[in-house]
Amino acid sequence: MLFDNRKPKFSQPAYSSQYKSFWQCIHIDGPLLAFLLLLCAAGLLILFSASNQKLHSIEFQVMRLLLAFGVMLIVAQIPPASLQRWAPWIYAAGLFLLIIVLISGHIGKGAQRWINLGLIRIQPAEIMKLAIPLLLAFYYHKLDLPIKLKSVLLAIPIILIPALLTAKQPDLGTAILLIIAGASVLFLAGLSWQIILTSLAALTACIPFAWYLLHDYQRQRVLTFLNPERDPLGAGYHIIQSKIAIGSGGIFGKGWLNGTQSNLHFLPEHTTDFIFAVCCEEFGFVGTLILIFLYMLVVFRGFYITIHAQDTFSRLLAGSITLTFFISFFINMGMVTGILPVVGIPLPLVSYGGSSMVTVMASFGILMSIQTHRKLVTT
């Protein structure tokens, strides 16, 4: 299935104009929806234990999920062509809001990440997570692939300006995800290996300089990542307790609601950034494999949609969304298990809190839209 994209699409009955399935009518991708529901259900199960069986936090989370699913359903109704048209405007609006947040943050003398609109709070950085791949896909759609050096250079400010503004908030985790979202478009658009390798080399060379740019607490995080035991009660405490939680889970885990590390508050941030450790502790190696499998199902479905997308814009956008989703949960799992430094990236769809949940679900809405808005002829 994944490899049959060379065949003419109209030969397949599912995409014929005569016959449209129910799911296509409502623009929902059944498998993706099923995987997402499974993942969210597993997430609620873990969160219930992680939050010490507080029902009201589950209620909040369910409400956020409902909102996010609603956004997903709405976004799924928007045809990719419209998104393509709006892409520059979305990007411009996001960037504008980002600057406003930064300015008001300066006035407020503190970290400011959102704009308060009374009922809801908008995090412009979250908008940028979608706006960057949208704009780049929009841009590259008009060009011939693979992309040339000139168009790559043009992409750099498109990615880095919002990323730096976000890092300034300071929100390193989201800034990294913004760069990943942009870079993944470049990668899928055929960024030449020459450029990939030289920029990787350049990046490595920049590390010493970047060290001076980092905030003190960010440096601490990196140092602590390299050696958690250097500060077992301070910065290293998180990762030590997290490893204890994971390691003590064993093969089958301590059982649901029986994780001592989280229930007795030894594990910090156990409902948010470190919720993966709760899963490892209570469900063990086997349970964690199942969770990872659920995530991978979503990722594989994303790639399926990517490969089957009908135009370059859709392909680049779908691929970028899938890759960004993968990277975000991988960074979280990597940091919790101690193979990556601690950056504040929550486990998507499982961590308590909703700032990124809407964005993630909106991006899946785009995937569904790409999968279900099909034209007769591939362009």
């Binding site: 994209n5 993944s184 658009a189 994971i246 003590s248 590390q261 007795l264 030894f266 490892c280 370059t312």
Partner: protein, 627 residues
């Protein structure tokens, strides 16, 4: 570079993104594989290590204080108990402003300065989330008042705990000692683990000597804690061993009688059961209330006790060293007979004075004109000094010291109490070593009537006189009759025979004992008048008078009433009864007072009178072996 084509190569573009997607899937699979490998490493390979760490995180062993063993007398009368008290405890961690809370608390509950000082001391020794008692023993009214306004004081709570209590207060303080809070020095000496839950430790007396038995072994609760150290629930309880209940050889009735008979005079009484060495009574007056030491005595009160002229903290029975005075005479008489320096038939003529050859000093008898013709029996009964002056010059100090040491003078008796003093058996070597002076023949003469440097504790006196009662058989005096772990069998403490005093002829004992009997029941005896008539048992005794100053005409029994009380003589009396079957041997010292013999009468009448039968019946319960 190829020129850009105007027509997009769609097939090529699809190819490109698909290829890149496949590559991404490939890379993703590899790094997910890495993540899974990492999980496997942590969760399977390192599982044991992290399980241990997780358990260590969450589970705390909380020690539980074992209940301290109770102390009973030989008849099962409770002498030291644990009473539940309400204390006001503070958890410092939960209190933002300690000073203000203390100030507010003092309006509800009376808090003394010593409470505050004790609390501050404890504050430094404990963790922030431990409960630290601020005030022990709240009254019921205080409990009620505090409970009413408890919501004003988060972090302050009322806790029930067990506290040591001595129901008889002063009466047994010197024997029992007391428990007090563990101090820094003791903290270094005790088994930290076994005392991890204990706040109190025996400081003196039986409480200190049998600390190990009384304390028991600590128990544990496995408590699950959260990250802030707050206990959530108890997982497992490992009970420790409660302290053993101790039964003392003390007869509390006898002890109280002896105490009362002292009539408030300073002094000491020790009563021993000759056939076993069991100490029946051990009184030292004045005494102190041990209960105030348990609560925590203030520095001021302690100084007052310490500096008091009557020395209430001083255990006279165990640590008071007094001149043996005339109570030395029976022992010297025994040695005189044993060495052949004298015989029962040998008499001297006492004209009231004695002179050593080549010395001008004149020693006087305590009766101005002497006792006239005196044999050994008479010399003991009427306490003739001249007879013993002569005897001593015949025997020499070496033989005198020898017999005294055989009776246990000059050495620790080995009783089960700490702090005993050995007294002094004066000898030429001792004098040279301690005083740096040579021994003169006059020293021997002084020693023969128990003056000079000879010193003994009341305990030694009692132990020695019970040896006479036993015809030389010696037993180690002891206080622990038996012990019983709650719920287990009672274990009796065996008495320990010591090397006996052996004489050539057993008749010598009878001669000296008969003479001691004369002391009390012969009109010529020194205790005849004082002891009075009308007792139903046979008794042998010996009086003694320790002159405190050289102010008066030597050895004359002058008018003590004219002398200030502090300078009056100490009176000694040693005795045992009944003579044929000795059940009790006593040594009594009354400081600056001559009622020692009265005290003896009270004790003997109580112990050998009707009372004793009642006690014996009760006694069989605790001591199956009987008297």
């Amino acid at each position: 570079m190829l020129k850009r084509t105007s027509i997009k190569n769609h097939y090529h573009e699809i190819q490109l993104t698909s290829r890149r997607s496949m590559l991404a899937i490939f890379v993703i699979s590899i790094i997910i594989g890495l993540l899974i490998a990492r999980l496997a490493y942590l969760q399977i390979y390192k599982n044991a290590l992290y399980t241990t760490l997780s358990t260590k995180n969450a589970i705390d062993l909380v020690p539980i204080e074992p209940p301290r063993g109770l102390i009973y007398d030989r008849n099962g009368v409770l002498l030291a108990e644990n009473i539940p008290v309400f204390s006001l405890d503070i958890i410092p961690q939960q209190i933002p402003n300690l000073q203000r809370t203390l100030a507010a608390l003092s309006k509800v509950v009376e808090i003394s300065d010593s409470d505050t000082i004790q609390f501050q001391k404890q504050l430094k020794q404990h963790r922030r989330f431990d409960e630290i008692p601020l005030k022990l023993r709240l009254t019921e009214a205080e409990v009620a008042r505090f409970t009413e306004s408890q919501y004003h004081f988060p972090g302050v709570l009322i806790k029930a705990r067990l506290m040591r209590h001595y129901p008889y207060g002063e009466s047994f303080s010197h024997v029992l000692g007391y428990v007090g809070r563990i101090n820094t020095r003791e903290l270094g000496e005790i088994d930290q683990i076994n005392y991890s839950a204990s706040h109190y430790i025996g400081k003196l007396g039986i409480e200190k000597f049998y600390e190990e038995e009384l304390h028991g072994n600590v128990g544990y609760e496995e408590v699950e804690n959260d990250a802030s150290g707050k206990p959530i629930r108890v997982l497992k309880k490992t009970s420790g061993k409660p302290g053993k209940n101790l039964y003392l050889t003390i007869d509390s009735g006898l002890q109280l009688v002896a105490e009362k008979a002292l009539q408030g005079h300073s002094g000491a009484v020790v009563a021993i059961q000759p056939k076993t060495g069991q100490v029946l009574a051990m009184v030292s007056q004045p005494a102190y209330d041990p209960n105030i030491f348990v609560i925590g005595i203030s520095q001021k009160d302690y100084q007052a006790l310490q500096q008091s002229d009557t020395k209430p903290l001083y255990d006279r029975a165990l640590r008071g060293t007094y001149p043996l005075a005339s109570t030395i005479k029976p022992y010297l008489a025994l040695e005189g007979l044993e060495s052949g320096a004298t015989t029962p038939e040998y008499t001297i003529f006492d004209n009231g004075t004695f002179k050593l050859p080549n010395y001008s000093r004149v020693w006087h008898d305590w009766v101005r004109n002497g006792h006239g013709r005196v044999n050994l029996s008479r010399a003991i009964a009427s306490s003739c000094d001249i007879y013993f002056y002569q005897l001593s010059s015949k025997m020499g100090i070496k033989l005198m010291d020898d017999i005294l040491m055989q009776f246990g003078f000059g050495a620790f008796t080995g009783i089960d109490l700490d702090g005993e003093l050995p007294g002094v058996v004066a000898s030429p070597e001792w004098k040279l070593k301690v005083k740096g002076q040579h021994w003169y023949p006059g020293d021997t003469t002084n020693s023969s009537i128990g003056q000079g440097d000879m010193q003994a504790t009341p305990l030694q006196l009692a132990s020695a006189v019970s040896t006479i009662a036993n015809h030389g058989q010696r037993y180690l005096p002891f206080l622990l009759l038996g012990e019983q772990e709650p719920g287990k069998l009672y274990i009796a403490h065996q008495s320990m025979p010591l090397a006996p005093v052996k004489l050539r002829d057993d008749k010598f004992w009878d001669i000296v004992i008969k003479a001691m009997q004369d002391v009390v029941d012969n009109p010529q005896g020194t205790a005849y008048t004082h002891y009075g008539r009308g007792y139903t048992y046979t008794i042998a005794g010996k009086t003694g008078t320790a002159a405190l100053s050289r102010r008066r005409i030597p050895n004359e029994e002058d008018k003590q009433e004219s002398v200030p009380e502090k300078l009056r003589d100490h009176h000694l009396f040693i005795a045992f009864a009944p003579v044929d079957d000795p059940k009790i041997a006593i040594a009594i010292i009354t400081e600056n007072s001559n009622n020692a013999i009265d005290v003896a009468r009270a004790i003997m009448d109580y112990y050998l009178g009707n009372q004793v039968n009642v006690i014996r019946q009760q006694e069989t319960k605790v001591q199956p072996a009987g008297l």
